[in-house]
């Protein structure tokens, strides 16, 4: 089976990284890009395979003009099957690569891990007040953090809120040239809110924006 890691535009050389299961990386020309693949003998979904997939994709970022990462699990019987699947893609691989050109992904997570002083609400009004408080907190973070970050990004995706301590979860498509300013804004926000947990990681390959359905800034 052929395992697909990513599509790359103007890839210089393959990185000195092995594929899943130790096989060599190969390229397959599709449209005006390269599909980066490797042959895998059997279905391998171990943590090692997952990590290896990620390492391959990240190793590509500095060797080409743009990367469209594939989700883990894209496997094909042969070259033809892969080519056929690429042809069915809308938007096309070429379009996605152009949209992502020169950009990397930065992940920002904000949690409020503080213990709630008030006990769990037992009445409806108490529940609504608590929920409104959470909503306001998220609104405040959105305004103070997300809006300035959005300005530095070509696109952004904010994950809808889930139950739990997560107050903000965003992925930002940032041009490399803007990384410094972006980082400064995150640090400034974190400094102003020592009571919150702030995690900022990157630069990643633009996983969150590979599907071509993100909200443009």
């Amino acid at each position: 089976m052929i395992h697909l890691y990513a599509f790359a535009r103007n890839l210089t050389t393959l990185p000195a990284v092995r594929g899943i299961g130790g096989g060599p990386l190969e390229t397959l020309a599709v449209e005006d890009a390269d599909a980066v693949v490797s042959r895998v003998p059997k279905s391998d979904v171990s943590q090692e395979a997952i990590l290896q997939h990620g390492l391959v994709v990240e190793a590509l970022v500095d060797r080409c003009d743009g990367v469209v990462p594939a989700r883990f699990g894209e496997r094909f019987a042969d070259d033809e099957a892969l080519r056929a699947a690429v042809e069915r893609l809308r938007p096309s691989v070429g379009e996605r690569l152009r949209d992502l050109d020169g950009c990397v992904e930065i992940a920002v997570r904000v949690l409020d891990a503080r213990e709630r002083d008030s006990p769990s609400p037992t009445d409806g009004r108490g529940y609504m007040r608590a929920k409104l408080g959470e909503l306001h907190e998220r609104d405040a973070v959105a305004e103070a953090l997300h809006v300035p970050l959005e300005r530095e990004a070509r696109a952004s995706i904010v994950t809808p809120p889930r139950a739990g301590a997560v107050v903000h979860e965003g992925a930002y498509l940032v041009p490399r040239a803007g990384l410094g300013t972006f980082q400064d804004r995150v640090d400034k926000y974190a400094g102003a809110h020592p009571e919150l947990t702030v995690l900022c990681t990157g630069p990643w390959a633009p996983y969150s924006f590979a599907a071509g359905t993100e909200v443009a800034a």
């Binding site: 990620g54 990462p69 699990g73 496997r75 996605r96 969150s208």
Partner: protein
């Protein structure tokens, strides 16, 4: 994760988890053989995306018809 990985400092651990989150849940999905996903989930799931696209088209057509 292996025992060695669990001894990594917490910073490395969360960064690794961020990568794994991306690899597993983000990234492009081709409509090819998704051999790793439960057929039941992804078939219906992919079908939902197609359905969503169709709903969008239906809305548009309905609005065009009304004008």
């Amino acid at each position: 994760m292996s025992a060695v990985a669990n001894r990594r400092p917490i910073e490395e651990q969360v960064t690794l988890l961020e990568l794994v989150d991306r690899v597993l849940n983000k990234g492009i999905v081709l409509s090819g053989d998704i051999t790793l996903s439960v057929a039941g989930v992804d078939l219906v799931y992919v079908g939902l995306r197609v359905l969503l696209a169709s709903v969008g088209t239906f809305d548009r057509l309905a609005n065009e018809g009304a004008s």
